[in-house]
């Protein structure tokens, strides 16, 4: 099954709408609640990242009996040093974003904790694709 959602730059109010919809689907599929929780946490973080740092993008989800593959594809400044960004506390968020309670530098590390496979690809000046996979059983 393939699902797709749009993420708009700076639209924190709707952050989490993709993860909320995917949560509903996974619940109907009888996926273990603790796995659903991990998917929701990881995707919510990635959604917020695209809203806070990039100029918006798309979220796609592909579900089969064994796994869910999530992609958050943004158009944005890109991440110059992915290894640096993967460490806790490292953030390039603006003071404005931090004031809203985001930008603590926990985004990518938190995603990594919750998914089974994570792949971040980024080109400076073009955008970032965060690919996350979670086993469903």
């Amino acid at each position: 099954m393939h699902l797709e959602y749009t993420v708009i730059e700076g639209d924190f109010i709707n952050a989490g709408s993709a993860s909320s919809s995917i949560k509903k689907t996974l619940k109907q599929l009888n996926v273990n609640p603790s796995i659903v929780k991990r998917v929701v946490v990881a995707l919510y973080e990635a959604e917020v990242n695209a809203i806070a740092h990039a100029y918006g993008g798309v979220v796609t989800a592909d579900i089969d009996a064994g796994k869910i593959l999530l992609r958050v594809i943004d158009k944005g400044p890109g991440i110059p040093d992915i290894d640096w960004a993967m460490q806790e506390g490292h953030s390039t968020a603006s003071p404005e974003v931090r004031n809203m309670g985001f930008g603590a530098g926990m985004g990518l590390p938190n995603i990594k904790k919750n998914v089974d496979r994570l792949n971040v690809q980024s080109t400076v000046g073009v955008g970032t694709t965060v690919e996350m996979e979670v086993n469903l059983s």
Partner: protein, 453 residues
């Protein structure tokens, strides 16, 4: 697994008008053959259907009052909300005297063990491993979480509700007084349907300490009849009753638990829609820094229960007044303390825990590949349906019909829009579409309607 449900539909009275179907928070109701049907796996006994029904076809099954006389030692377990049903000039001891007269040797208020309930809960809140912790007080909320938010069952505080703790207490006291266990009958006077379900099929325990349930509206009628018969000529028997603290009187109102919570950040929310809205956010991990949630299914909490007589706002006002009066006594040191309950504190605290709350998942199929297959079909059907949720198919929404087609043998042609299209394409005769409407809304309704025209 079968669940006891207190809410039932009287098919002789049901007109199949679908008002109930539209307000059910778990989409448990469908109309077929001109009658509403409740899906027992989905029903959480919240009572929304009871309130919505214009024909009083939804009723709350209760134990026969005469059941109490099976027991030699009869206890009425009465929540403070019951006293809030009566006007101020009718005294507490007069109501107790009447309960005594109609058959209960013992009357005890449910909230008498609230301090013990609060202590057990606060201990767990201090440990605070899971956040936010959700109160187990409202059984409709516990059932809502089981059915609709299975990922949050571990957030529910695994502690008995005050009604069970008090039943456990009074039973122990009466056994100590010399009554044989099987001659003690504890009857709870319930303001709502969910508490009946909680007594008949408890969550997290084998058996409830309560033997039967009496609906608050029917007991109100019995007591009020006595009051009318007595007029000004009555005697009040002074019953040895322990007095509730002002805090305990307020427990069943909105904020009643929250104001006693040790958590730094706690919320109290009432009303089914409000609770669902917030639980969605909790489940999405959007809520941070909330330690404790008091959630109540009814507006204004228990005074808004479907089996209450008095207006819920007036009940709240009366209960506040009572609490204020008692608070004055507390300040002056005049309140008789519930020493007998205090003496059992340790015993009650040791027996207050319940087992884990289990999820009652309503997934499409236990097998994920089959569920996925069904979901693909459902998504496809959803695209074909008009998405205006008119309910003419006998299901509460287009999405619900799509699911019913895949999982419960309904047909796409149950949709009136699809029927019209099929008629236009000459794939269906008008008579055939009327026949479909008959299977949903009943032949009487359709035939009479056609004839009258």
């Amino acid at each position: 697994m079968a669940f006891f449900h207190a809410l039932q539909i009287n098919e002789n009275v049901c007109e199949g008008c679908s008002h109930c179907m539209r307000v059910c928070p778990t989409q448990a109701i469908r109309v077929r053959d001109g009658k509403a049907h409740i899906n027992e796996d989905r029903c959480i006994d919240c009572g929304n259907c009871f309130i919505a029904c214009p024909h009083k076809a939804v009723f709350v099954k209760q134990d026969d009052f005469e059941e109490i006389f099976k027991y030699a030692c009869r206890v009425a377990l009465v929540p403070a909300v019951f006293l809030g049903q009566f006007k101020d000039e009718i005294s507490v001891s007069r109501i107790y005297s009447i309960l005594n007269e109609i058959g209960f040797q013992h009357v005890i208020e449910t909230e008498i063990t609230t301090p013990i309930y609060t202590e057990a809960k606060n201990r767990l809140e201090r440990e605070g491993n899971t956040k936010p912790l959700i109160s187990s007080f409202c059984p409709a909320i516990v059932r809502l979480i089981q059915v609709k938010f299975p990922g949050l069952v571990d957030n529910i505080i695994p502690v008995k509700a005050p009604l069970d703790i008090t039943a456990m207490y009074i039973r122990r006291k009466l056994v100590k007084d010399g009554w044989p266990e099987d001659q003690i009958g504890v009857f709870y006077v319930t303001p709502c349907a969910a508490k009946i379900a909680a007594v008949k099929s408890p969550v997290g325990e084998e058996k409830s300490s309560v033997d039967g349930v009496i609906n608050m509206d029917s007991l109100y009628n019995r007591v009020y009849k006595k009051i009318k018969e007595q007029g000004h000529d009555y005697k009040e028997v002074k019953l040895p009753i322990a007095q509730l603290t002002s805090d305990s009187i307020l427990t069943s109102l909105t904020n009643g638990e929250r104001r006693l919570s040790v958590s730094e950040h706690s919320l109290s929310i009432d009303g089914m829609d409000n609770c669902i809205e917030f639980l969605e956010k909790v489940e999405n991990e959007e809520i941070e820094d909330v330690d404790f949630l008091e959630l109540r299914a009814c507006d204004q909490s228990c005074p808004g229960g479907i089996l209450t007589y008095n207006n819920r706002f007036l009940t709240c006002e009366r209960m506040f007044n009572r609490a204020r009066y008692v608070a004055g006594k507390e300040r002056r040191g005049e309140l008789t303390r519930a020493d007998e309950v205090e003496a059992e504190r340790e015993y009650l605290l040791n027996n207050i825990a319940v087992g884990p709350v289990e999820a009652r998942s309503i997934s499409l199929d236990p097998d994920i590949s089959k569920a996925l297959e069904k979901m693909n079909k459902i998504k496809e059907l959803e695209r074909q349906l008009p998405q205006i949720d008119c309910g003419i198919c006998g299901a509460p929404s287009c999405d619900a019909l799509a699911e019913d087609i895949v999982c419960r043998g309904c047909k796409l042609s149950d949709c009136i829009f699809i029927q019209r299209n099929m008629e236009a394409r000459k794939d269906m005769k008008v008579e055939e579409s009327l026949e479909i409407m008959e299977t949903i809304w009943g032949d009487e309704k359709i035939k009479n309607f056609v004839k009258n025209k």
